[in-house]
Symmetry: C2
Subunit: 392 residues, 2 copies
């Protein structure tokens, strides 16, 4: 993001190209406007910008490009170059949509593949033609779908995590039961839970889902369990099928580990909302509002977890606002993605978090609930009560 | 890497744990030693190290962990803390192998998932128990396999790339023919070539492989074509099958875009060497010798492309030596991975590159050959001649 503030994403509809697609039909806008923050001297920034344009399109010197159509329609173009600090510039590069093949991984490749190898360049923003965003489709469920699933209307949602990694499945199921009895809306696997010997995926999912179902039966509640899918796409699809057989209706995926193509495919193949986890997403090289907000949303994440300010990670409050805005502001008609502030939150901070992010938010508190040990059930009820009260 | 020099990886066999696996049988060593460079004041480094140990294992405060086995066998442990500069420390964290589930993506998750979100921490090194590395298996073909495929013995190999992205398949095939007639060993897709309308995967692979086959028939040579696989794992597997039907016997994969789990699975499912591309691998947050060298090797890359010093990227000569060393030095009995220096190389630099990296290397020159335009064939012959002469 250029400023870290909400709304600093430019409106892509105002600078989409004139529609010079090469027979890709559905896509009228020809260019993606990507913004890179480059550390360079003023005298050299023009050459750096041109080098990025070549690196992120034809990956060859202009002298090596003889084809007129490629020069006109495929080679990326340098747009605005704007000072962004004493030694930094924001450089807009127009990347041809046709180079992405309309595939999530290839889009990331064209946005930042080789340029990620330059440690003085950060990808701070990107604007896409509307037809391009619609071709990806965005969240299949979005905020409304997650509300319908959990019966949570008109208030922020609550979320907690099963941990610690290393417990057997039956003990994780016991924690899940406590969380569900307390009325927490979404009970997710800790993102470290994969398919380990201590709690193999199939056994864990069966036991946890049963515990949550039994708790719901006794309370009349609608808590849901989101197991973490891991491995390559084929394995994730197998895991999703196993889980759906157990009654699971929502999933957790870490797109930067799984590959964003796996997120995009799962969001279309699995008939359940997907919560994106920021593992391996880094802090510094792709602006979090772009990656965790806009891109994960475009690729189909129904909810997106991010490290909230004042917790264990160093994101600013403005950056968190910008992530939430990118996730849920009106954008090309895509369904909104539910923002999930997390990463060291506590029950004491619930009113403040609710005030900052409003009702269309899911609060995730994990470790600090579990630290209550034998008072876990009580702390969970405090959490749920505080969130329900937060917007009254 | 602690020093950026070859050999700075510690020998993991000397500090593997005593074998407290939890029934995972094949794995005797219990701990992975990961080294993080942390920017912190001396007074705070102990607490930071403990926080990383929790973040990269149970992701919860110690107070939340009640299970004795988890405390003993699963919670990561803080090892050495060594000054690494005026404001930096190298912190060794011992991560339990059982937390990885012996799966590539989950390993990356446990090594750097959440800690990647701290922009003052870099993952600089990791040492694995021998049984752990063997469980992944490493390159199925390695340097010897690529030599056998191309008939290139006792000298560095040559590689070039089909570009620019945007040309139709028949023109890419024409360039491939010229490269193959000149005797270049490996002709790879530009990593930007995916499944775009300008040269769809199936059509491109069929035409390029035919051109290379015809050139080989006329010269008696053994050039091979490495198409780039993209999309999620299911799609990559389909593409590999299409390509193998066309006679393709080697592939290009960008593991940080595809997901390392896809690399690991492809290296076992596809009966052909795999060249890893560093797209999206970043420069600054996971040390390149660890990521492009050791980890990609462990996950099965038979060759690994890296940006050589003095080209378009900022890697130091020492860092490149370290990447090559990590790729091919004896390590747990895994086959060596072929180092591929690239990223703005020229024919003029061939003698220097051969002198630095020796015979078990593949030189990749792309754009600067194509910049010769109508003299492409001549420049390719110059490249091949220079490499063949380089070690005589």
């Amino acid at each position: 993001m250029s400023t870290g503030a909400p709304g600093s994403f430019a409106d892509p509809s105002t600078h989409a190209g004139p529609g010079r697609g090469i027979g890709t039909g559905a896509v009228a806008g020809h260019w993606i406007d990507a913004v890179y923050r480059v550390r360079a001297a003023a005298a050299g920034i023009g050459a750096r910008a041109q080098a990025i344009a070549l690196e992120q399109s034809v990956e060859a010197p202009l002298a090596a490009v003889r084809d007129e159509r490629v020069l006109r329609d495929v080679v990326a173009q340098v747009g605005d170059i704007v000072p962004a600090g004493p030694r930094d510039f924001d450089v807009t590069i127009r990347i041809a949509v046709e180079t992405t093949g309309f595939e999530a991984g290839q889009l990331l490749n064209m946005l930042f593949g080789n340029t990620s190898l330059h440690d003085d360049v950060t990808l701070v923003d990107a604007a896409f033609p509307e037809e391009f965003a619609l071709a990806f489709g965005g969240p299949a469920f979005g905020i409304a779908g997650i509300r319908a699933l959990t019966g949570a209307a008109g208030r922020p949602l609550t979320c907690s995590a099963l941990k610690p990694l290393g417990l057997p499945a039956r003990e994780l199921a016991g924690i899940a039961r406590t969380l569900a009895l307390a009325g927490i809306d979404v009970i997710k696997d800790d993102h470290g839970l994969a398919d380990q010997a201590s709690a193999p995926f199939g056994e864990r999912v069966r036991e946890v889902q049963r515990a949550v179902d039994e708790a719901n039966d006794s309370t009349g509640g609608h808590s849901v369990y989101a197991p973490s899918l891991s491995g390559h796409f084929g394995r994730m699809r197998e895991q999703a099928a196993i889980a759906e057989d157990c009654g699971v209706r929502i999933f957790l995926v870490a797109p930067m580990i799984a590959g964003v193509a796996a997120l995009a495919a799962l969001s279309r193949e699995v008939n359940a909302p997907i919560i994106a986890h920021p593992a391996l997403a880094g802090a510094a090289r792709i602006a979090p509002p772009l990656l965790l907000g806009r891109l994960f949303r475009m690729f189909g994440a129904d909810a997106t977890i991010f490290p909230n300010a004042g917790g264990r990670f160093g994101y600013s409050s403005d950056a968190c606002d910008a992530i939430a805005a990118a996730a849920r502001e009106p954008w090309h008609g895509l369904a909104p993605t539910l923002p999930v502030p997390a990463g060291g939150m506590s029950v004491e901070r619930v009113p403040e978090i609710c005030a900052q992010f409003g009702a269309d938010t899911m609060l995730l508190i994990g470790g600090s609930l579990l630290a209550a040990r034998e008072r876990l059930a009580e702390r969970c009820r405090d959490f749920v009560t505080a969130v329900h009260r937060g917007t009254r």
